[in-house]
Subunit: 335 residues, 2 copies
Amino acid sequence: MAKTVEQIAKALGISITTVRLVLNGKAGQYRISAKTQSKIDSYVAEYGYTINHAARSLKLNKTDTLGLIIPRLSNLFFSTLAEKLEIRCREAGYQLTTSCTYSDTERENTLVETMQQRNVDGLFVVPSSLQAQNHHLKRFTKPLVFLDRDFSDSEVALVVSDNVNGSAALTTAMIDAGKLPLFFMAGDIQQPTIRQRLQGFTDVLAGHGISENSAWVLTARHNRREDGQLLMQRFFELHQDAPPAFIASSLPVLEGALNVLRERYGYIPVEMNIGTFDEHPMLGFLPNNTWSMRQDEDAWVEHAFQAMTLGMEGETSPGKSVIPMTLTHRRRAAV
Amino acid sequence: MAKTVEQIAKALGISITTVRLVLNGKAGQYRISAKTQSKIDSYVAEYGYTINHAARSLKLNKTDTLGLIIPRLSNLFFSTLAEKLEIRCREAGYQLTTSCTYSDTERENTLVETMQQRNVDGLFVVPSSLQAQNHHLKRFTKPLVFLDRDFSDSEVALVVSDNVNGSAALTTAMIDAGKLPLFFMAGDIQQPTIRQRLQGFTDVLAGHGISENSAWVLTARHNRREDGQLLMQRFFELHQDAPPAFIASSLPVLEGALNVLRERYGYIPVEMNIGTFDEHPMLGFLPNNTWSMRQDEDAWVEHAFQAMTLGMEGETSPGKSVIPMTLTHRRRAAV
DNA sequence: GTGAAAGCGCTAACAC
DNA sequence: GTGTTAGCGCTTTCAC
């Protein structure tokens, strides 16, 4: 097993070049004798041959590997994205290697350096901040495609969802269904994605002439379950009852918020109207009216991979791709 | 940027060895002059130095990379496992690279060959079948640690949950709460994990002198949402009403089963008692009594990494690790 | 049709 | 304290 080209050649008493030509399928092209070919073939069938990827990389200065750096894999949106991107990369002959930052900027920077050392041919990154993004641009010397966070740097290759319009559509759908007042439980509004979702919300409310909307917005520091809990706890410091309708800025925030309700009441009030970003089959477990605004991972992958291909071909950056979102409504369960 | 050791040495007019010693932190040990050191340091500060990992790998015949092959990342259990294993590997200085099989044996075999070519130092695999497992053992020449599927091959390094006892405990808890009859909706019972869960169930029922339990078991071909749907549809071909209590053999099966109920009734009957394997925060969205049997990813990671370490140190296989599961009960929501 | 040789950037062993 | 060298296994180029 795992013979090298040289070992095969020596064992068979033929030259390295000949073996190589056969192994690379160039036998016909160079008119290698059938006898030599079958000698090589049967040797390989017996002992096997595994190309040494490190040697190839060293010579060609490419690894046929792409990197993906995301906040966490245990977030369904990112794990789905990783899955689909891996499939797309493999189709094109690339191995994708994924690592998580856990929203730690230092870790993120380290990961980029690691990817650089390992000489990946290109890198997809969800950057935690504009500084981090600039760090990567400086340190990483091959094509970079940024995902999910729009820091308004028009030069970079970037794929994001159309969060402003998606949020506006979600808000409009809930208002049209008569669900007012409508609260918005936002995680970290420093983060562009969340900020844009909040903006879509306030835009629509302003368009409806609702000026008190700032009272309907609650914000937290991060986007985790715990932040959702804090948000709902804060809500109860300000109000007597559960909100008749609210939007969570992401699924973990929703999980935390509903958890507080269930602890407080022993149940989740069924008459409550719930909006959220990101879709999940388990939203159907809720008996409530729910609206979820889904991000289109397939379109993300196509745009991101296309941008990477252009970058690797040396084209200039394709700039920003803004992917539309789609709304899923689940009607309140009959009783 | 990205100078090689040789370039640095030439630019500074000193020898490659000297530069190397400084870069590797051996300056003190070999008493390199402070002047030389600072010359090198400032050059690196200016132009940077990125080690060429391919060259290092080629020379040392190791990549400081481990592979992980799982069915899918969009399954929360596996994505959590991947996350925690990545963290553990990085602590020990290894990069983890994860790929998915989508339960396709051929793809799985290809992935193992790819990992072999890329010369990963070791491989964690969730094998789709005993044949696949044997294929890997034959083709992969470095340490292998298998996960999640117990094909009763006592020689291999393997980490699994204690599915038989876990399932027995789950079944017992539901029976003790008076939830009979209790149905079991199983996905693919060819797969050892599912078979063992089913076995824990039938064992307990037999222990309670319930002989008709075979009528309470429904099985499907795979373990996906669609299979859960089929199972619940089949249930309704045999019964008039929704099951008063049932156990799903995994979360996707549960999602599919509940989906059918919601379609049929417009709601999920709140008096139904639900058991499932794998824990998820969104199970709290259900107003029902639920019991979920969780797998302990942290323990999996510790045992798996330990087994890998032993393998890399050339020790003999540590054999099978069986990890206990823990039960979470959510009480039916008050009204 | 087949062979030989240089070189990718690193490590390790040895020389001065 | 510093310098030289061989060689990991591959690709590419040129030679016969």
